[in-house]
Assembly symmetry: C2
Homo-oligomer: 445 residues x 2
């Protein structure tokens, strides 16, 4: 098979995902060579500690370096996989790779969310390519589905569970009735949650992924500050129980990307959400991820799988590598390559703009912790009435020490009205504890 | 944009799917041209009746012909979409297109199931390409997921609901408690089932799709006669009710493709199956399709969406067209193209062989219609005992006219043992009505 082309790959970062990729490429080298008509050569890797003993793969010491940029700049490489985590060094690495007109493969959602625009611009200028299947939902080929499989569609609605840690914690609160803090500590002890857990728990990791999906679906890089982000810290087992009582709802941390195809107003939100137990996404528990994609041609398609884990993400990175190899080793190498460019670019589609709080509408669930004094309900009800919000269900649940939790669900209203109610209640000083509220997923699909 | 390359497309068959494709390509022409850097030209179409008035798209009469082979042979075309249905003419069309080294796009699962091996061989010989995303599960990009997104994986298990008509009928029997015949007639009146309905109802359409998924996942074209196929005609509302009582099971028509990664024994089956109500696939109702794919690297991923309908399938066909256009219009046209070849080819992977009835194991549900005479249960129980099958649950339900339905579920056993029990009962003439049995989906994922 000496006529086979050779594609040379370097790694920057060789943690669990990188080792998974290396291991599977090594194991399947013969098989891949037969299928691709090209040989994949694992050339070198930049790692923090070349002397580390407990890697899943045995790598010759001569292939290891601590110099990330040396790998990024290595002129002999065709593809560089950036799998190190963090933002600053990965950004330098990415720009180096792209400026040489090479293939960058990354699973780094924070990097893409923060610097995606600049990276794709560098790719365009220097004829480089970026592959990033591993950045969203681990092994679920959602990037490929959105950008290739569903290429005929515009997307009024994309929503889903993008963070396995949050889903695991919510599932366990629901099953065990324990407090958020108890479950979080146990999840950390078991390795299902990082320490500190903020990036996951506070919704930022989900938001990073939502920004990437927005780019794929709508061709714009939305600034993270324009994403409404709320994590799961305030969700209690009471909420989960009451949600069930109120109408067989479960609570999931959703990213929701909505675009009005007439006005092209776009909203991106991350928040705990009440979802009808009969919906498929309500059934997606533990560390699983799921994305529901509604296209104007195809209707709604749903994708479910493990959202993280070294092997799931390795599966995604390898699919990127294979796509790149196919692109790099066409019949005639002079064509350089023919890899699909992911760049829909700001200017090419109809311009989208961000929806304002009047344009984001839905149903809401409120929890008020109230003391047993007369007039509280009147004040709360008046605030809703003043802002034109009509209520659907009301339930009061006694709590220790003369307090109650008062639950209200609303009919359809706007984010603006909800914010106004909260502000009004704050002004009247009616409540000692800030109200907690959840959105209700109530989508026509 | 005069420098843009032009890709010329012809259609053979312009029914609802073809019209959907034509309509969306026309509507989005400008947008697609910007995104692809190439112009897609809808050149001509072969139709049964060029004078037909009620098409969703207005097409100039000069573009229409009744001669399918004239379109297939037209040297000016780059891509031919075969969307006519049937097998013989589509096969001729497909071979003509491929022998000219062109792109064939088809959604014709019967054609691929029947002649896939020959077509892919012709494609290989003449450097043609076959795209067929629309052939399985309508708009769900399952072909792309299996062959590209999950390329790093071997697949011990693929199963799912591949036929919307059957799922719709089973869902309605479950909800309404009516008979199979009543629901089928109503489904036909509503256009959800063909007349005659045999291809769907008897499992053959599901089997066609299973054969295609097997090719993608395992690189072999399995003969339809080697697929165990049972339809849904014998499923009664009693079965559905009893399945629920026995353990919160639903009944779904599944295709199940299993491969033992150690022995490379492969089995492909289509049959009504009991599935735990808590599983996601049990929640996939009405005309929706779903596929669960377990890969050795990625774990289990699941894909859900509308399995048919002109727009869903059009979405899939357009994604094929876009992939082909990208392949056909690389930087340097001299490369001809650089389209991924779907052909894993028989010889390249580890050889698979078909599993025998001893190697297919699982749990089973039996329904016996018995008359109220002593000794029947003893004969049935003896037959199970003689064949080493141990029983899990037993329930008898009185029925009109001195009959009962006797339900039994088994622990894990083999298809061989089950067939032996049935033969033994037939020999002893213990039963007046042939027993009905279902497999239980009990997969480790």
């Amino acid at each position: 098979m000496s006529e086979h082309k050779v594609v040379r790959i370097g790694f920057v970062g060789l943690g669990t995902v990188g080792q998974g990729v290396w291991k599977h490429l090594e194991q399947d080298q013969g098989d891949l060579e037969r299928r691709l008509g090209a040989r994949i050569e694992l050339v070198r890797a930049a790692v923090r500690d070349p002397g580390k003993k407990d890697r899943r793969v045995k790598i010759d010491a001569s292939k290891l370096t601590t110099d990330a940029l040396a790998v990024a700049r290595d002129p002999s490489l065709d593809i560089v996989c950036e799998l190190m985590g963090g933002i600053e060094t990965p950004k330098q690495v990415a720009l180096e790779v792209l400026r040489q007109g090479k293939v960058l493969i990354t699973a780094n959602k924070a990097l893409l969310c923060e610097h995606g625009k600049e990276l794709f611009e560098a790719a365009r200028q220097h004829n480089g390519r970026i592959f990033f299947e591993g950045s969203v939902c681990g092994g679920i080929p959602i990037i490929k589905a959105l950008s290739e499989g569903l290429v005929a569609n515009r997307f009024p609605l994309i929503y889903g569970i993008l963070n396995g840690t949050c889903n695991y914690i919510l599932t366990r609160i629901e099953r065990e009735g324990k407090t958020f803090d108890e479950i979080l500590r146990d999840a950390q002890a078991k390795g299902y949650a990082d320490s500190p857990p903020d990036l996951d728990i506070d919704g930022w990791d989900t938001a990073h992924k939502a920004v990437i999906l927005t780019f794929l679906a709508h061709g714009v890089w939305v600034n993270l500050k324009d994403v409404e982000v709320e994590g799961i810290r305030k969700v209690t087992s009471d909420d989960i129980m009451l949600a069930k009582e109120l109408g067989d709802f479960k609570i999931k941390l959703f990213a929701i990307i909505q675009r009005d195809l007439k006005t092209n107003k776009l909203s991106i939100r991350v928040h705990p959400t009440l979802v009808d137990e009969r919906k498929v996404l309500a059934r997606v528990d533990d560390v699983f991820n799921a994305v529901s994609v509604t296209g104007d041609v195809v209707g709604t398609t749903t994708y479910i799988g493990r959202g993280a884990g070294s092997d799931a993400t390795a599966s995604a990175v390898i699919s990127d590598i294979v796509d790149a190899v196919i692109g790099l080793t066409g019949k005639d190498r002079n064509s350089k390559w023919n890899i699909k460019d992911y760049l829909p670019s700001n200017g090419t589609g109809p311009e989208v703009s961000l929806a304002g709080p009047d344009e984001i509408i839905g149903k809401y669930y409120f929890r008020f912790m109230v003391t047993d004094e007369t007039g509280i309900l009147a004040k709360i009800a008046t605030a809703f009435a003043n802002n034109g919000i009509s209520l659907s269900q009301i339930r009061q649940q006694p709590r220790p020490q003369n307090t109650s939790s008062l639950i209200m669900t609303t009919h359809t209203t706007s984010e603006r009205s909800v914010k106004n109610v909260l502000a009004e209640l704050e002004r009247t000083a009616a409540l000692k504890v800030k109200p907690f509220y959840l959105r209700v997923a109530d989508f026509d699909e």
